[in-house]
Structures are given as C-alpha cells and as structure tokens.
C-alpha cells in the first residue's frame, strides 16, 4: 500500500520504476577533458607558518586546481575582546582578580576558543568554571560599555542585555547534578513530599487558612533533600503551595496511601514507632491480596528477617518498609515473567488455549512461590543441597508443609554474610 502523501506528491500513481536512471549509473566516458591526479604541494591560509604539505590534486588538462585549501574556511576562532592596560586600570579592576590572572584568562579564552572546561582545567590557580566565566563576561561587558560612544549603542548586545549570573549558574548546575544523581528512592520520596504538600495545601484551604502555609517539607528529609526540593524547578515554594499534580509519580495509589498514613500519624500527636510501621506496611500492601501478603512474609522469613523488627528504630523501620515494598515488586515481576513465558510458549506451540494454570506451568509457579532464591544465588551449601532434594518429583512441589521447621531451609544469619 502506498501512503496518501506519496500519492498526493506524485500526482497519481506512485512510481513503479526506480527514480534513478539505470543508465546513469554506468560510468560515463570522460568528455573532452584530460583528467590526471598528481601529487602536488599546497598551501593553506589557515596556517601561519610556511610549511609545505602535499596531497593528491585533480589536474584538468594540465592545469592544477587554484584557490585556497578547501578546508581553510573551517579555521574559525572567537573574537575575544582584548583590553589595554589603561582600560584595565580604569574599568576592569576587581578585588578578587589580579591583572596577571585576568590577562592569563583572556589568553586562554583566545587560545581555547572559550572552551571553559578546558580553560578551567589548565588554569594555574584553582578557579571554578563559573568564576572564570563570570570574570570573562563581566570584563568583556565592561569594555563594550566603556568603548561604546553611547550606552544605547550597545544596549542590544547580548552581553549587555543578559549579563552572566554567577550565583544562578552555580545553583542551576548544583541542582542539575543532584537531580541526575537522584536514586529511585529519592525520586519516590520527592514524589511523596509533593503529594503530601498538595494534601496539606488542600486541607489548609478547607480549614479557611487559619495559619499561613509553611514550607511543606516532612521531617524525614534532611537538609540536602530540602534544598533539592527548593531547587527542583520551583515546584515547591513558600508562597505557592499549589503544587502541580503532574509531578506525582505514576504509582500514585501506593504513594497516596503512604502520605495519607503519614498525615494521619501526625494527627495523633503521640504514637509508637511499631504502630507507625504497622500502618505503613498496611498502606503499602493495600493493593495486594492475602496470598501475596503471606508470600511476602514467607520471603522475609527465608531471608532471615524478623517479621516485626526486634529493634524498631526510625532507620530500621524505614529499611523494613522498603524491603517489604521491594519484595512486593519482586513477586509482581515473578508473576509477570510467568505470564510472558506462558505467552511465549503458547506462540511456540501454536496452542493459544494454553493457560498458566496447566500442570507444566504450575510446577514452575509453585517452585517460584516456594523457593525464594533462584539457582544462581544461594545462602550456603546446606541450602542448595536441600533444594536439590525438593526437586526430585513433580508431585512433591505442591504438597503442604507439615513441619515447617524441617522442610524450610536454614535461615540466613548475619554471620553468614
């Protein structure tokens, strides 16, 4: 099928023949010109010395090519404004810069075509890229203004109109590097904060705004995160409490549960850490069925982790919660993989009616249910041996555990690591 556009363009039928004339592809005999290739010397206007280089040149009827070296036109450089000593004394002195340094900076700028990264790297005294740029641009700007017959003449010049803003640049780069180095964990936390900020804003609006809205940052966030939240492209600011909802992560249902739990905990004024953890765990597992929750707990046991932390400090509770969430993710992925494998099998066999529930599938499913660890990871030699025994017959996998103490492999202890 030919697309509509092609049809319209060609004014009717699409061409059935190739557009290139086949006869054109044959080498044409040269007309009346005699072409030779000669190894000839050449000069380039781009060179400042008189070095003689040679290259193959296409000579037509004995006449070598004329004109400058064809690549000389690419030898561009930046017009760096150079000041006189007089001008320096009059307009350009600065407490944080010596004349020598400034001279050197301008030399480098010319030499390296304003490639500030390279300039910063080679600069004898340690200066940041932003400092160098600041000095260069402010000197250039001052010179432009000083040399201009009237201020209006240069008002349109980009350097004059939009001067380099050091602090803004430094802040921007710092915020950017923080955003780039954000872990997934941070991303989620930020989304949580934003969602909570929204809730607080809404509840405050509802309460007729008795107090002025404070900066909505949760206590979990340390100074570096608080700054990050501010540097985050103005999503949170003291005066603007209406946060764009687009900033909230896709899994809003789980985050919404989390943040509403946090909010309701705050309303209690006093609570126990274990109670808070229970609530958060419930919120995180709210979308999971009972079987999944049991599997999470089984996994925790297999990993040798207490279902309820023995020392529930703030840090421990946070880690515990994250671990549970990760296990949920893991279980979801396992299910996903099963379905995809089943899909693939059905494509292969050509039997589309093959459901994941058939015996072949359920064996593997039960296997993954039962043993947390795949073949490549193992806790210890003992454990691998036990799993080998388990695999012996297909019927065994589906049996219910009669005495968990014996069937379950040895728990991982801290000393195993």
């Amino acid at each position: 099928m030919v697309s509509r556009e092609v049809y319209a363009l060609t004014g009717g039928l699409a061409p059935l023949m190739p557009s290139i004339e086949v006869s054109q592809l044959k080498r044409r005999p040269p007309s009346d010109e005699k072409i030779t290739w000669q190894w000839l010397p050449f000069t380039s206007s781009a060179r400042k010395d008189d070095l003689q280089l040679y290259h193959w040149a296409r000579v037509v009827n004995g006449v070598p090519p004329t004109g400058d070296y064809s690549f000389a036109k690419y030898n561009k450089s930046v017009d760096v404004i150079r000041y006189t000593d007089e001008e320096y004394e009059k307009y350009l002195t600065d407490p944080t810069w010596t004349k020598e340094e400034t001279d050197q900076l301008f030399d480098f700028c010319e030499r390296f075509d304003l490639r500030f990264i390279i300039i910063a790297d080679r600069f004898p005294t340690s200066r940041t890229v932003e400092e160098l740029k600041d000095r260069y641009y402010s000197v250039s700007r001052a010179i432009l203004i000083a040399r201009a017959p009237s201020p209006g003449e240069v008002a349109g010049h980009p350097l004059v109109k939009e001067p380099y803003n050091v602090s803004q640049e430094t802040e921007r780069k710092r915020a950017l590097s923080m955003v780039l180095s954000q872990t997934k964990h941070q991303e989620r936390k930020d989304a949580e904060v934003i969602a909570e900020a929204k809730r607080i804003a809404e509840s405050r609006m509802a309460a007729q705004g008795v107090e002025e809205p404070d900066l909505p940052v949760t206590s979990d966030i340390g100074p570096e995160n608080a700054e990050k939240a501010i540097g985050h492209g103005d999503t949170i600011s003291p005066s603007n409490v209406h946060v764009p909802s687009a900033a909230v992560a896709p899994s809003t249902s789980i985050l919404a549960d989390n943040t509403s739990t946090l909010a309701s905990l705050r309303m209690l004024w006093v609570y126990l850490r274990t109670y808070a953890l229970e609530q958060m765990v419930q919120a995180a597992s709210s979308s999971a069925g009972l079987r999944t929750i049991k599997r999470v707990e089984q996994t925790l046991q297999d990993l040798g982790v207490n279902l309820k932390p023995k020392v529930p400090t703030k840090a421990v509770c946070a880690e515990h919660l994250e671990l549970r969430k990760e296990i949920l993710t893991l279980l979801n992925l396992q299910k996903q993989l099963q379905y995809k494998e089943a899909e693939g099998s059905s494509f292969r066999d050509g039997s589309y009616g093959d459901m994941p529930g058939t015996p072949k599938r359920s064996l593997r499913a039960a296997d993954q249910d039962r043993t947390f660890v795949p073949d490549t990871i193992s806790f210890g030699g003992e454990r691998v041996g036990k799993r080998e025994q388990k695999r012996k017959g297909p019927g065994r996998v589906a049996e219910t555990p009669s005495s968990p103490a014996h069937k379950r492999p040895r728990k991982l202890k801290a000393s195993d690591l």
Binding site: L268, L300, V311, P312, V316, L337, E343
Partner: protein
Amino acid sequence: MINSSSSKKHGTDQQEISGPTAKSQRAQMGKPEESENKKRLKDVEISVPIVFGNAAFWLGKKASDYQSHKWTVYVRGATNEDLSVVVKRAVFQLHSSFNNPTRVVESAPFELSESGWGEFEIAITLYFHSDVCEKPLNLFHHLKLYPEDESGPMSTKKPVVVEFYDEIVFTEPSESFLARVQNHPAVTFPRLPAGFTLPPPVPIEDESKRNRGDTKDHPLSQWFLNFSEADELLQLAAARQQVQAHIAKLRRQISMIDGQNQQLKPPSDQ
C-alpha cells in the same frame, strides 16, 4: 503553674479537634504567654526510645498455689535514662482478680511489682507532662512468668525476662518541650530548621522533688536486654541487596522474553 492549669482546660478539647483549628482554639483560650510556649514545630518529630516488659522470679519452695511468682512490670528508657523528663505518670491496669487493679506510679522508675500465678495482658498508660503531650499513650504487655523452654528447670535465681523495644514519637513538639529536653540523654533530639533558636527552658513542676529516676543501677538491671539496631540494619541491608539483585535479574529476563515474544507473535497480531 500556667502549663498545668491550661492542660485541664484543654484536656477534653484535644481529642475532638484535630489539625490547624486545634492550635487556633488553644491560642484563643490561653493567655498570651501560654500560646508563646505552645508554639509548635511542624514537620519535626522528637522520639524517646523505651523498653518495656517484665521480669519474673519463681518463688521456689516459698511458692504457694496463688503466689508462685514475684514479678515486676516496667517501662524504662532504652539506655536506662530517666524517663520522667517526658513521662509524668504511668498507670498499670492489672487483671481484675488483683486488689485495686489500677496501679498508678507517679515517679520514675515506672514499674510495678506484684506476686501471682497467672499470665495476662497488662495495659500500661503513659501520661506525659503538659508541655510534652496532652494525650496519653497505651502500651500492652503480656505478662510472662514461665520460661519458653517448658521442659527446662525453673530457677529462683534467674528470672524470666521479656522485653520489647519501641520508640515514643511526638509529632509537632512545642518549643517549650524542645527547650526543656535539649540535652537530655533519654530523648532523641531532632534536627531543627536552620537558624532556629529555642527559648530558654522552663522546668516542670515536680522536677525538684524528684529522686534519681534512671534505671542504670536498678536491681534488675543485670537482666535487662541490650537492643542494638546495628545487627538488624545489617540484616535488612543484606536482604534488600539480595532482593534488588533478583529484581534486576527478573527485569532482564522479562525484557529478553519480550523480545522473543515479539518475534514469535503470529502475523495477524502485528
């Protein structure tokens, strides 16, 4: 004292109102200096690590049918510091078969000793100083008298000890509370907003009368358990690492299978 009288006024209100309106109500009803003291820090939490539980001694030959054990139920600071800096009193609610089952302990160490034969649930209610929190907090502890290993011999010298670690979290603490507990070892002090300064601390009413309330040299201290978060953190970190590695592996497998399935798909699907 200003603080305690205001707490009596506001006591019942606290439960009904929640959120920003509560603060404004308090500000209206109290005297100007009161509302200054009651200024609260949002998004700041202060926590007090505690351990609660019981120690029970078998009375051996002195045991009778109804009094086989002597036990003590208690709430202590996790590092044995004095909890009376935040806790005003503790009320232990015992089984109804005890005389006067509601036992009030007005000073640290917050503990209660009794003798009996039965294991039952004890409700412990902690009341805090008025600048700390006007709402009490409930803990529940199942009294344990008999050792886990039922077949082992019972000793009169070594008690059966069951302890639980927890942390009391106070949300939006008042400035006066923060000022008062600034350097107290029983309290985990939060990081305050930058540049924030606290007002000078105002001591609580019965502080001067108080005797030593810490449990460092408590007669039972040799049986106290140690709670260190390091081991648990290590375990959790290791577990998380394993899970994350497994997740990465599954993701790779899934994307691989996705690729395969794309190719295998019957033409009509494409």
